[in-house]
Symmetry: C3
Subunit: 315 residues, 3 copies
């Protein structure tokens, strides 16, 4: 009943438990409708989404644009937005955003610089959704990750979740850890090589919310006890020598043998793209949920577009 | 009542006073409808606009595509049209245009070579709109500039208009000066460094239509007396030395102090993007109209698409 | 009445005579409707086509996207799909396809590697249409070629068809020869320099189906006797010396004089883009059908999208 309180979606920290519940409930509803009687197929008719991608990310862009089209909206799109701020022309992000907000009803922005989406939102007269700003945030990825867990386990309660791989630089695991503090009786196990350990700020935040966590380096010691393994890619360039990397990397590959050791109802997640940290043989295991997770991005983005633009309509 | 007489929109010279009135009246009507009861929201349903951009210009492209979508039409788009005429394939613009005209109902073309739009129109079986052809024309920019003045002052009569900056190479000021001859009692003041003065052909044309004009180098001497200041960017490469440039450039920056000297109802225009010739502090002054001007591009393009394609429907 | 039996459109070999008849009948019907009462204008409403172009081909992409829009569907598009499989991220085509198939209802894929479309179809949960995969197939081009002949002559029977130019490396002539075996009393004349002769596999296939064929090097000896001349470009790089190329190339230019020697009801085809093998002067000859041929691509692609997606709806 209450209108959606956000004007823009810029960072995970905007979402408290109530908001997460609203977004996930809406996502459920729109997902059911998409495979059902399509009563929402024209709910954003006449609305325009502007995709402003300063760096290409076809997967994310398609997910947003499909979400808009599935609700009856239309799309204008560029993978080439960097041309706006070309050295030759030198236009500011603020000016570009202000002009674009006269042509569309919602802006989805991907940028290489942290803080860009927030600066765009300051000037925009229409909602801005951050589709990733460099080393900064990618809030819709964080939402779809939490949604996937909540959707699988009919809520998030009494769950043990392992995050595996590059926890130090990985944007997704940091956001996920942050959002899990909104739920009860969650325990997190950070599994990584010493060089890629989760940073202290997140650990402190978990302590503040009394979320149990511990650190491990051995994936085999952890996989049998958890309800969810969230895999990420370990990047070569984090290591001092190729030898160190090779020694480490193999330990964080989720082989079919390791999957066999998992609980029967546990799930395997990955933000994708993957390289070799989950072999293809695992794809057919019912515990593999990373493709459903990607698909959930569509429902989450439909929900956000619906909530942001319908509020606008009634407001 | 009369059908719109143009088949294509290629250059400013196609527009006499009657045509300007038709376009602006239609723009007003579609603008009112856009913020009103949306009776025109599906008026171009089933029609397709093909954006053929041989060089990227996201702002212009989005403005056209938004216009088409706001009227219920659809869009196919490329920022990569140059690939058509790639050395490897060597296809002519004529062949490309002819084929595209079988896939769409209107072509919007941006090209790096002057005369391209006109050559495309010669071969096309559907309307072609020139969205800028190199050093040539950009007629929809000219129309939105005149529309912005007409819209602000409820017509164009007894107005004194200053054009400031690079008047020699600036496509927009040349077109604006040309179109102002269609109105009564307009006076134009050209304000520029000597190296960037307005060319003789435009001055001769103004004389022929008995439009008063004079030239100045000092912006401060002019700003208090005019109803409109049309700013443009001065480009470094026009000057023989950086020293000359620096000496000149500062004199053509519209500082808040200079804005203070302007008449209370005067307006400030700029084709955008700007660099530093209008500081951000000026943006909140009610006289600053350059963002409205950009927004007016949407209404002008809606009007042109509507007039070109509806004629086609009834014709 | 029977549902369309194909799930994907990957290669010409999928089409037997019955299927060709179904596609062409549907193309005729949708073409008539497009210029008629538009009863099919919303037949794919709510459906999304994803254009995944790993290399740009604006003409082919626009043709597919226009086809989708003409039937009321929507489009998400990239000319930059190669970014998916970037060295940095290293995602497989299989993963990309699987994710995309969650965002759309049909995928149109252009790829530089032969076999890509087939590999994508193996993993995709939605129909995949091959829009050209490198040295591999381009089945919709083959279909529109045969459709153009069938459309002109009200069927394909008792026709003599010359294929001219680069027959060895030309994908289109190979597919056309293959599909012509599905029709009665067709005779094919291969006209090429010795270095670009049609390969043995196609000749063997024609023999198996008892299709008459012969080889010529002299275009003048052939043009007066045939019902159709299918021109292709001869590429310089096939020749050992520029001298050899120059000697050969001129003999395979369809000059106005050579056109004069053709039968009055014969037709001239070309897959386009052309360079100089058909001079512009020929364009106005009523026998020149290459622009209609390009236009027919729209109707064939409308037919395929309609047949693939409507089956899905009823299935």
């Amino acid at each position: 009943m209450n209108p959606f309180p956000l004007e823009h979606v810029i960072e995970s920290q905007q979402f408290d438990r109530d908001l997460l519940d609203i977004v996930f409930r809406t996502a459920n509803q729109l997902k059911a409708d998409l495979y059902g009687d399509r009563r929402y197929a024209k709910s954003l008719e006449g609305k325009i989404l502007a995709s402003l991608f300063y760096e290409p990310s076809t997967r994310t862009r398609f997910s947003f644009e499909s979400a808009m089209l599935r609700l009856g909206g239309a799309v204008i799109t560029t993978e080439n937005a960097r041309e706006f701020s070309s050295a030759a022309k030198g236009e500011s992000l603020a000016d570009s955003t202000r002009i674009m907000s006269g042509y569309a009803d919602v802006i989805v922005m991907r940028h290489n610089e942290a803080g860009s989406a927030s600066r765009a939102a300051d000037i925009s007269s229409i909602p801005v959704i951050n589709a990733g700003d460099g080393a900064g945030q990618h809030p819709t990825q964080a939402l779809l990750d939490v949604y996937t867990i909540a959707d699988t386990f009919s809520g998030i309660k009494n769950l043990k979740i392992a995050m595996v791989g590059d926890l130090r630089y990985g944007r997704t695991v940091r956001s996920l850890a942050y959002l899990l503090t909104k739920y009860e009786n969650v325990e997190i196990i950070f599994v990584s090589p010493p060089v890629c350990k989760m940073e202290g700020d997140i650990k402190a935040y978990l302590n503040k919310y009394e979320i149990l966590w511990r650190e491990e380096t051995d994936l085999d010691a952890v996989s049998p006890e958890v309800d969810c393994i969230y895999m990420t890619r370990i990047q070569k360039e984090r290591f001092h020598s190729l030898e160190d990397y090779n020694a480490a990397a193999g330990k964080y590959i989720l082989t079919p043998e390791r999957v066999q050791a998992m609980k029967p109802n546990a799930i395997i997640m990955h933000p994708l793209p993957r390289v070799n940290e989950i072999p293809k043989e695992v794809d057919n295991d019912p515990r593999a949920r990373y493709f459903d997770q990607a698909q959930n991005g569509l429902f989450i983005r439909m929900a956000l577009l619906y909530l942001l633009l319908n509020k606008d309509r009634n407001g």
